[in-house]
Amino acid sequence: MFTLIWMNFKRNKGRKLLTLLSVLVAFLMFGVLMAVRHGLTFSENSAAGARRLLTINKVVPAAPMPVAYAERIAQVPGVKAVTYYGAMVGAFQKFSNAFAVVSAPAQSLFQVFPELYVPAAERQSWLQDRTGALVTPKLMQQFGWKVGEKVPILTRLKQKDGSTTWYMTIDGVITNRAQNSSGAQQMFIHYKYFDETRAAGEGTVNQFDELLDTPSQAGPVSQAIDTLFTNASPQTRTGPEQAVARSIFAQVGSIGAIITDVAIAVFFSMLLIIGAILLHSARERLSEFALLKALGFGSRTVTGVVLGESLLTCLVGGVTGMIFAYLLIAALRQTVTQVLPSFEVTSLAIALSLALMVLFGVLASLLPMVQLSRLSVRDALGRA
């Protein structure tokens, strides 16, 4: 039977190529969309990740909040440590070389994010250097910086002297041991220096991060923190990192749901296309299927040929599509790593795609199989 399936698979090469391309494109989109979805919903695997909350401005997620909130948050029962950061966009030599500049208090930063690693000597050097900076390996490599080098950082944020160029000394390299941070483009500077130097926004931060005593306290602690600022301006929104991130995306229309809807629409279209092509192809070959029946092949064998052809089409096109998706994601990962740090093809996505290939192969062949099971050999041979 496989000979028949394979020989039929190879016939009508133009139509087959177009069918395979439609399946390929559908699974390419699926692979990329799943990677985007994973990037949006992924939470860190570190143990501390499950024990962390973040607090943002309730109305506008990136808008500033008073740094003084930190002291009040630290007093909430269940909060072990609090850190915060103010952020700006920096660039080296030209604004197209942009990266994130994160200003945070050194001690609490490492306390709340223990997965951040800096060699001891470099860490000590940074702690003692007011204008010092820690940068990710990607930035070091990209700009050819060396430890100890003083570099001018272009920003849109004015300093008190009116300058928008910030001079920072590279004190060391910072990496995230909990996830692949090879593509991250970040510079960490001292919040104190950042806050004292900038011309506007003094005493404000963009986000607080809280380390909890135990994960089970996440709900009550979140509620307790937000209650602290119910009558303040601005109010806050606190929750586990993943949940808050999702709620932010929910504000712009639930990206995850949109992605799912798009994926469903793509696959539904694909299913209709393949089903129509298979139905048409089976109709063209009714006399051939009738001949097989006349020769003594059972209905199962005949419908099995159609099912096999459909499965082969979905698997060949789908696997190729997923391979292309993998290559595309690998090529784009460096570019999108800051927005989607976990932009990757997961084993779940691969397993799901294989299941979908089989499912669509079966579904697309249902109509032709029903048609063939009702085939009258007498009529089909007479019609040819």
Binding site: N8, E288, L291, G296, R378, L381, A384
Partner: protein, 239 residues
């Protein structure tokens, strides 16, 4: 009852036996009696031509004999088996073992080579790939096409395609060869070659052949001819 006993041999030598076979078809609200209580016996080794005008019931009779259709009433007994009583799956298996079909339009699978087409019925046997290939080659040699084994139908002439069709029909060594207008789509020269081949299979290899044809020239190659008109068999054409 219209009875034609074509056999001239003993009961045990009878390959085909039709007893009171009637076939009705529904055409809209109308019921058409295509075959009318037919009786027929065909002895082993016979080469019988069936002639008659279009719509007389020839093809319907062939479909019944080949197990592609069932009678409305009566018995169709082939090689001692009442095939009308077999289930669909049993009938499929029976066709694979007992009947070789030769069609007017050849019905070769265009994606397969001549050899693969001939070997197709052998896929239903327990033979290994090597043995299937060997037997397909032998059948192609018998019809004079051993040098065309690797050619696809589109690369063959009509006569050659029909020879491949005949090789496919005989490759399982069936009890009965049913040929439906085997020369109907061929020129006279190719048609004659096919008829000579069928004669050879009948005389040299003892194949029992029933052939439907419109062509008196083709029918003359058979051992004898029966005529069908309006669902009734007779030994003489209707005037």
């Amino acid at each position: 009852m219209n009875a034609v006993v074509a056999g001239r041999k003993t009961e045990s030598d009878t390959v085909v036996s039709l007893r009171g076979v009637t076939k009705l078809y529904k055409r809209g609200s109308e019921t058409v009696e295509v075959l009318k209580r037919l009786d027929l016996e065909v002895p082993r080794g016979d080469f019988l031509a069936l002639m008659g005008p279009s719509g007389s019931g020839k093809t319907t009779l062939m479909n019944l004999l080949g197990g592609l259709d069932r009678p409305t009433s009566g018995e169709v007994i082939v090689d001692g088996q009442d095939i009308g009583k077999l289930s669909d799956s049993a009938l499929s298996a029976w066709r694979a073992r007992h009947v070789g079909f030769v069609f007017q339009l050849y019905h070769l699978l265009p994606v397969l080579t001549a050899e693969q087409n001939v070997a197709l019925p052998l896929m239903l046997t327990h033979l290994g790939a090597g043995e299937r290939k060997k037997r397909a080659r032998a059948a192609l040699t018998l019809v004079g096409l051993e040098d065309r084994a690797k050619h696809k139908p589109a690369e063959l002439s009509g006569g050659q395609e029909q020879r491949v069709g005949i090789a496919r029909a005989i490759v399982t060594d069936p009890t009965l060869l049913l040929c439906d207008e085997p020369t109907g789509d061929l020129d006279r020269k190719s048609g004659d070659e096919i008829l000579e081949l069928l004669q050879l299979l009948n005389t040299e290899h003892g194949k029992t052949i029933i052939m439907v044809t419109h062509d008196p020239h083709a029918a003359a190659k058979a051992q004898r001819t029966l005529f069908m008109n309006k669902g009734v068999l007779s030994q003489e054409p209707e005037a």
